[in-house]
């Protein structure tokens, strides 16, 4: 355990916490466009700029497409770069997401997760990020404002590492995290400056060393570029661990790809991303006190997917209930459950899997909902035939 570190605790909502982290990371360029529920991040950053609290170049672009494009330009020019978006904004960025990862530009982007149209909806689910999950970005999901702050800081160091050089999204559930005020323990500016250092670009757009960025690679070279991205992604976990070590030293808080809770002797485990993990742990604790062997696994590092870590913690669990806050239309499972199901093919685990689609478009996921998920899983673990493998929780009949 790390030494206890004294830190100031201030009241911040998730968006403010992310904006504060970007400010403390001393980013060179922010290019962004407002969209609910991310807007507070750009507003807050605008305030820092207007009050002279940062010397960041703040480019208020005319669309999310241009926001991320400007970030790509700045990152290629060697800057530390930050942006933020949600929902339709992320969807509008779609082709630029692939550009950023393909050009190996370190960029940190907060995504305040929100449902996609139609119908138009401003509230939380994960359909925005899941719609772009194969874009080649490292994808982190925060559980609360503290995690959003801590992961944003770590994300710069991960993205800019020469073994990685990939963009990173830090996902925070819209409204549930983005707009909910919490006590957030914040570090001192100089501690962060020491932790992050200045970005040292491996290559950059530089008139004293002319290089071509964004060349056309056809059938003879394209695959090698993609394979290098795969390798960068596979280099990421050890870099993320190193960064977590350094962050623990200054903050006393330890982050890892997954956070198992009471899983060692569990008959059933619930696997989830984001803010629902807190509710799930609370319910699991109550069920424990009633003698039920249930646990929770929160996934923080969704891409690269922590396959072996998950297989290890789930190896003795009889039944796994996977919470998806997005639909993969026409697919056997929701997106997260598809990944969990692939564990059975890739590893030695033989657990049964069920998929619960819930919380779409901001539909509340209540403790009683989670309790019903556990109860069903326990009955299934006991050999009872329960439900279909994919169920929609809390939807009208």
């Amino acid at each position: 355990m790390a030494k206890s570190v004294s830190q100031k605790i201030i009241g911040l909502n998730g968006d403010e916490a992310v904006a504060f982290a970007a400010k403390q990371a001393n980013v060179d360029v922010v290019a962004a466009y407002p969209i609910t529920p991310q807007t507070i991040i750009v507003e807050k950053f605008g305030e820092y700029v207007a009050n002279g609290e940062v010397d960041t170049k703040f480019v208020c672009v005319e669309s999310e497409h241009s926001a991320l494009s400007a970030c790509v330009g700045s990152s290629l020019a060697g800057s530390r770069v930050f942006t933020a978006t949600s929902s339709q904004g992320l969807a509008l960025m779609h082709e630029v997401l692939y550009l950023a990862s393909g050009l190996r530009t370190p960029i940190v982007m907060a995504v305040a997760n929100r449902a996609l149209s139609a119908p138009i909806n401003i509230h939380n689910d994960h359909s925005d990020m899941m719609g772009s999950r194969d874009c080649g970005w490292i994808q982190i999901y925060a559980e609360n404002a503290q995690e959003a702050y801590d992961w944003t800081l770590q994300a710069f160091k991960i993205a800019e590492d020469h073994e990685v050089l990939l963009p990173v999204t830090v996902n925070l559930d819209g409204f549930t995290i983005s707009h909910a005020m919490e006590g957030v323990a914040v570090l001192k500016d100089d501690e962060i400056a020491n932790f992050l250092g200045k970005r040292r670009p491996l290559y950059k757009v530089d008139t004293s060393n002319p290089m071509t960025f964004g060349a056309c690679a056809l059938a003879d070279y394209y695959m090698e570029f993609k394979r290098q991205q795969v390798e960068a992604m596979s280099n990421a976990p050890s870099v993320i661990t190193e960064v977590a070590d350094g962050f623990e030293k200054i903050s006393g808080r330890r982050y890892s790809a997954i956070s198992p809770f009471n899983v060692e002797d569990a008959d059933v485990a619930l696997v989830c991303l984001g803010s629902v993990a807190g509710t799930a742990r609370w319910v699991a604790s109550r069920l424990r006190s009633r003698g039920k062997h249930v646990g929770v696994v929160k996934i923080s590092q969704y891409r690269p997917f922590p396959t072996m870590e998950l297989a290890k913690v789930l190896s003795n669990v009889q039944d796994v209930a996977v919470i998806d806050r997005a639909v993969s239309f026409g697919a056997p499972y929701g997106p997260l459950c598809s990944d969990i199901a692939s564990l059975k093919a890739l590893t030695a685990i033989h657990t049964r899997i069920s998929n619960i689609i819930c919380g779409l478009g901001g539909r509340d996921v209540r403790p009683t909902d989670i309790e019903s998920v556990f109860e069903k899983a326990l009955r299934r673990a006991a050999g009872e035939a329960v439900d279909e493998p994919v169920s929609f929780l809390g939807v009208r009949a």
Binding site: S74, A77, P210, F213
Partner: protein, 315 residues
């Protein structure tokens, strides 16, 4: 005006690129780089110039060159400029964004509009070959009325494009840009002067260059410069500058060459000379006259009525 002897011998857009012979866009890029007097960074929209210059592992560009996407060239240039500003190097480097007419008039105009409104400091050069040439000659907002393209072919009922060319410089001027100009690859010294004026501006500047395309316009590859000249001399493509909103003709054309001399060598206009499409040829002529008069008036000149006897008989 600059003389040939004063231009650098160095070729920064190297021989070895894969542009077609007689390509107006390649000439535009080459002359642009000869005009530059400071180190420069090039941002290039998807298109002929982009794809033909950098087929990995080769590159024809001997200066920093960035290609992102089709429609985001201005935004990428803004991002690079923001970085240079942050580093305090913005004054020492020119940023040139190149886009074709598709990447500029159409799909990239939103990003360009944003950059112009923010007054980001770079020079945007549109090489206009009047259609989506890289994908095989489809119509764009810069394709002139009547031109046959693969999406507006010269059919038996509809003879080519039915809509007029967009006033791109007008769009830029409406943003309050300090410097905007049209240019032609045929008048290289006029173009070089304009590039130098554009990069000297603090804030965005725009140059719209007519860059004939032998493949898309269907003419002999040896005729590029001749056609670029005829476009100006027939008043089809007026050369002018707009400094702080004030229009100024760069080249007066008191005795225009007959429009047919520009149109006839080009396969894309051949159908307009069929008897059944005489009306369309007249409409083409009317649009050229209208545009010339509009620009001439903006430049403080008199509106000039050009006698079009062939059209008067058509009614």
């Amino acid at each position: 005006m600059v003389t040939l002897k004063e231009l650098p011998a160095q070729e920064l857009f190297g021989p070895g690129h894969r542009m077609c012979s007689g390509c107006g866009a390649a000439a535009t890029a080459r002359i642009t780089l000869k005009a530059l007097e400071k180190p420069a960074i090039i941002v290039n929209a998807t298109g002929c110039l982009e794809v033909s210059g950098t087929i990995y592992p080769d590159t024809a560009w001997k200066l920093p060159w960035v290609h992102a996407l089709f429609e985001d060239t201005a935004a990428v240039a803004s991002g690079i400029e923001a970085s240079l500003q942050k580093e305090g190097k913005a004054e020492d480097v020119d940023i040139i964004a190149f886009g074709g007419d598709g990447g500029t008039f159409d799909i990239g105009i939103q990003a360009l509009s944003g950059a112009l409104e923010r007054r980001d400091d770079f020079t945007y050069i549109c090489y206009d070959n009047e259609a989506y040439m890289n994908t095989g000659i489809q119509r764009s907002g810069a394709t002139p009325y009547g031109a046959a393209t693969t999406t507006t072919p010269a059919g038996s009922k509809i003879p080519g494009k039915t809509d007029a060319k967009k006033d791109f410089i007008g769009v830029c001027v409406a943003h309050g840009v300090e410097y905007a100009a049209t240019a032609s690859v045929a008048y290289w010294n006029d173009y070089i002067t304009k590039v130098r004026r554009a990069v000297a501006v603090k804030g965005p500047a725009v140059i719209h260059v007519l860059a004939p395309c032998p493949l898309g316009w269907r003419f002999e590859t040896s005729e590029t410069i001749k056609l670029a000249k005829l476009a100006v001399q027939t008043r089809y493509f007026p050369l002018y500058e707009v400094e702080n909103g004030k229009y100024k003709l760069s080249m007066k054309v008191p005795k225009p060459v007959p429009l047919e001399e520009f149109l006839k060598p080009q396969g894309r206009f051949r159908h307009l000379f069929a008897p059944e499409f005489t009306k369309n040829l007249c409409e083409f002529r009317r649009q050229v006259e209208h545009n010339w008069n509009r620009i001439a008036q903006l430049c403080g000149g008199e509106s000039i009525q050009i006698a079009s006897p062939a059209c008067q008989t058509v009614g």
